[in-house]
């Protein structure tokens, strides 16, 4: 059994229950309404375990279900009046109950560790499948100061490959000296961290850092908020050193290019555009302004806000490895999100995370909504008229 590293958090909880009905609202509690799916309930279960108030036989199934039924969106942490680092606690508890995980989740991790990507595909052979037109062929493994870290969902999902294409085309248009790791890119390790498997994630971090250093990379761009958070905010801590590599979410990088007047837009968007704050970019990494500033810089685009935005943004439902844990609920949470967008003024909803993008676009299609779902880079690409 793994060690229990949640410390005092279960005792600090004041039981106020503000985590039940926050503005951004715990997506799982909203759907299930059971106390065990609230942060308060999970901490209470952990406390009962620490106090020996209830037998392990009785507590483990409930605790496992409670900590896995979570998208790790951080909505609970945002409103916790006792400032408990809840997301960190859920990750630790997920690792703690690893022996009780459902078989599909254990297999997922086993396969991720083996294949180095979340789709169980041949990493070396298929990582570049998104590049159907070979636009990035001569960029793979090319020594360069800048790297585009594509990420698993964009590389393999088949539905998000165009995001990598658009990003690559913009970088090429700007004649930037950049590289792509191709088959040498491994999963960033975020799913492992989200499951409390820190040691396993360290191996992934070591590999990716070595691959980047081999090519002389000093700056990295990602189009995935999970990759951004992991490479940019977690790797230094995981590896215990300052890696000296600047990591940008593409919204930050695009904003930098706009500030430096390197982007000259030629086409007008003429639509109301909302940015869907990804949980891992907003609440968990503190990036809210950069994507909005990019939208504001697009000719004709009118920035509008979704009813719940920035630190109060609603989770799309697909984060926290929840797609592996409960794909059915991910769909219904996606439907809820898609409806919320439909009820807003937005004609285009721009994303900064392929997981949100995928879940929202599928839900919007299922429900027949006619707003456009895109990644931020698609709008930039369009405005550049490439």
């Amino acid at each position: 059994m793994r060690s229990f590293e949640v410390g005092l958090e279960p005792y600090i909880c004041s039981y106020c229950g503000f985590c039940r009905e926050t503005k951004s609202s715990c997506p799982i509690f909203k759907e299930t309404r059971w106390e065990k799916n609230t942060a308060r309930g999970k901490l209470h279960l952990a406390r009962a375990l620490l106090d020996g108030k209830i037998s392990k036989k009785d507590i483990f199934p409930a605790l496992t279900e409670a900590v896995l039924n979570c998208t790790l969106c951080g909505a609970c942490e945002e409103v916790c009046q006792n400032h408990i680092p809840l997301v960190r606690t859920w990750k630790a508890l997920r690792g703690f109950v690893q022996d009780n995980w459902p078989i599909n989740l254990s297999k997922f991790v086993e396969s991720l560790v083996q294949t180095k990507n979340i789709f169980s595909l041949d990493n070396a052979e298929e990582r570049m499948l998104w590049d159907m037109d070979d636009i990035a062929e001569n960029r793979v493994n090319k020594p360069a100061p800048l790297a585009y870290f594509v990420g698993c969902v964009t590389s393999f999902s088949g539905r998000m490959g165009h995001v990598a294409e658009r990003m690559t085309e913009v970088l090429m248009e700007l004649e930037l000296d950049f590289t792509i790791l191709g088959g040498k890119e491994w999963c960033c390790g975020d799913p492992l961290l989200l499951l409390g498997l820190r040691d396993e994630a360290i191996a992934f971090a070591k590999h990716n850092v070595a691959a980047l250093r081999n090519l002389g990379v000093k700056e990295v761009i990602t189009t995935c908020s999970g990759c951004y958070k992991t490479l940019g905010l977690e790797y230094n801590t995981l590896l215990g050193e300052n890696l000296g590599i600047n990591v940008y979410h593409h919204s930050q990088f695009l904003k930098k290019l706009i500030d430096e007047k390197q982007l000259s837009f030629k086409k007008s968007i003429e639509k109301k555009v909302a940015f869907k704050d990804p949980c891992e970019l907003g609440r968990l990494a503190g990036i809210y302004n950069a994507p909005r500033e990019v939208i504001n810089a697009l000719p004709g685009a009118e920035l509008v806000e979704l009813p719940f935005n920035r630190h109060e943004a609603r989770c799309c439902g697909a984060g926290g490895v929840f797609k592996v844990i409960d794909p059915g609920m991910v769909m219904s949470l996606g439907d809820r999100m898609a409806q919320e967008i439909a009820d807003s003024q937005a004609e285009i909803v721009a994303n900064g995370c392929p997981t949100c993008y995928d879940n929202i676009s599928l839900a919007a299609r299922r429900q027949g909504h006619n707003y456009r779902v895109v990644d931020l880079i698609e709008l930039v690409h369009e405005a550049l008229n490439l």
Binding site: Y15, D58, H83, G286, I287, A290
Partner: protein, 491 residues
């Protein structure tokens, strides 16, 4: 619970009812942490937890509960600490927080009708889109439910200007234990108010609302509680703010320590005044009242911060990591004496005092003590609650609530006449006694079923007081780990 009853419940409600130990355990506490010895007095773990989505399901539940004589305990968000939403001898816990539908918002009558399980904050957000707002709400508004506050009672923010929550309620829908659904109006509402659901389950309420006029917070700081109270006395003769909240230096010091955010001087007493429709005239009245008593008006940033903090008095818990809370109503003219007495009597225990002036006559005083409920001897510290209440009574105050633990205070709380009415009402509406037994009218100790809980507490009180002196809690100066207040916005 009998096997047949369990089967009947399972057949009727399928996945809306849970019997597993972990889920039941989650509903065995409220905001107060129960010492282990409590299991000698009550059985707080329910036999089942039921999550109804509509009234019909509650009617069905009462049918089965009556058939098998099973207690039914209604519960909102469990944010009170008096045990009103706890099981007393097991039974079925009914979590009403899924009944949240807003049925009607009338712009003409300025009223709203909503499910008992909706939270005050969620309802306020919905009302604000119609340019309306709640007249009063509890400081636990982000999670507290309409039904919960009606059943539990207590004071809140806005009471000073608009009266208690009872005054806001126009009608209540109640499912009696015999399954009959009744609509309460007028005096009938008062009869069922603050009864913890011992006469049935509340499913819907209609409330008066106010125009969503902005509330302007003003923060006054004073060197003594005397100055502060003099200023408030003068002010209240001329103006009635939406709310007045008083905080002592210890409250400010500990909260700032818990959050790591230091905005206010830790030597002052503070009065936060929330004023509806502030105009130049009222602003100058407030300024004069404060400054004439030697007080200072703090800047807008600090006032706004304090106003936002009105929902978060439990931040102090981080320092314990436990907290003990005692509450009482005190006449306004005795408030300064009471606060001084508390500060003197418990000076070694760092009493953090917060007082809400809820009417021109009375204030609700909340006193927080940091503690560590992991200590085996933490139960002795609960004697502070009784000591606080006794002191309040001596000064003409009254208990804040009854619930389960303070059912011994029912006469002081309700008065003799109202208590007679309650007993009569309970007898007629719940002859089999399945609706939230043990609450208000008093329960018996589980292992000594001839001893009322109130009597057991009375007997235990002096021993607890001695225990509290011997095993006094000393807050570690190195605890807690640094707080993470808010997130860094990177861009």
């Amino acid at each position: 619970m009998k096997r047949k009853a369990k089967e009947a419940l399972k057949d009727q409600f399928a996945d809306k009812i849970a019997f597993d130990k972990a889920t039941r355990m989650l509903y065995s506490r409220d905001v107060g942490v129960l010492p282990r010895l409590v299991s000698l007095a009550i059985k707080p773990v329910p036999d089942a937890v039921f999550l109804p989505r509509d009234e019909k399901e509650i009617v069905d539940l009462f049918r089965i509960a009556n058939q098998y004589k099973i207690p039914v305990i209604p519960r909102g968000a469990g944010t009170s600490g008096y045990g009103g939403a706890l099981a007393y001898r097991g039974g079925i816990m009914v979590d009403l927080t899924a009944i949240t539908e807003v049925e009607e918002i009338s712009a003409e009558d300025m009223t709203v009708t909503a499910g008992a399980g909706i939270t005050f904050s969620n309802l306020e957000a919905i009302l604000s889109s119609k340019n309306q707002a709640l007249r009063s709400y509890p400081s636990s508004a982000p999670s507290a439910t309409l039904g919960g506050w009606f059943a539990q009672g207590g004071s809140g923010i806005g009471d000073l200007l608009y009266g208690s929550f009872r005054d806001q309620v126009l009608s209540v829908r109640l499912i009696r234990p015999d399954g009959e659904i009744i609509e309460l109006r007028g005096n009938a509402i008062s009869q069922h108010y603050e009864l913890e659901g011992i006469t049935g389950i509340i499913t819907r309420l209609s409330l008066k609302t106010r125009k969503a006029t902005p509330i302007k917070p003003i923060l006054g700081s004073f060197q003594s509680i005397d100055q502060l109270m003099n200023a408030m006395d003068t002010l209240l003769e001329i103006l009635t703010p939406f709310a007045i909240n008083i905080e002592t230096p210890t409250f400010i010091r500990l909260r700032q320590q818990a959050t790591g955010e230091v905005l206010l001087s830790e030597d002052n007493y503070y009065a936060l005044l929330a004023i509806e429709e502030l105009n130049k005239n009222s602003e100058s009245v407030v300024a004069e009242s404060i400054e004439n008593q030697g007080g200072n008006i703090e800047d807008t940033e600090k006032a706004t911060y304090e106003w936002k903090e009105r929902f978060f008095p439990l931040r102090l818990k981080r320092l314990g990591p436990g907290i003990i809370l005692g509450e009482s109503y005190i006449p306004n003219d005795r408030l300064r004496v009471y606060i001084e007495a508390i500060e003197k009597k418990f000076r070694r225990d760092e009493p953090s005092v917060e007082a809400h002036i809820i009417s021109k006559k009375e204030a609700a005083v909340l006193i927080y003590f940091c503690d560590d409920d992991r200590r085996l001897t933490a139960m002795f510290a609960l004697s502070k609650i009784l000591q606080i209440m006794n002191l309040a009574t001596k000064l003409g105050g009254r208990p804040y609530s009854t619930g389960l633990w303070l059912s011994g205070k029912k006469r002081e709380f309700f008065g003799v006449e109202r208590l007679k009415e309650i007993k009569k009402l309970k007898k007629t509406s719940d002859p089999s006694g399945i609706a939230n037994p043990g609450k208000i009218l008093g329960g018996k100790v589980r292992i000594l079923p001839f001893v009322p809980i109130s009597m057991a507490l009375r007997i235990a009180a002096p021993f607890m007081k001695i225990g509290n002196t011997i095993f006094r809690y000393r807050r570690s100066k190195t605890f807690p780990p640094p707080s993470r207040h808010g997130r860094e916005i990177r861009g």
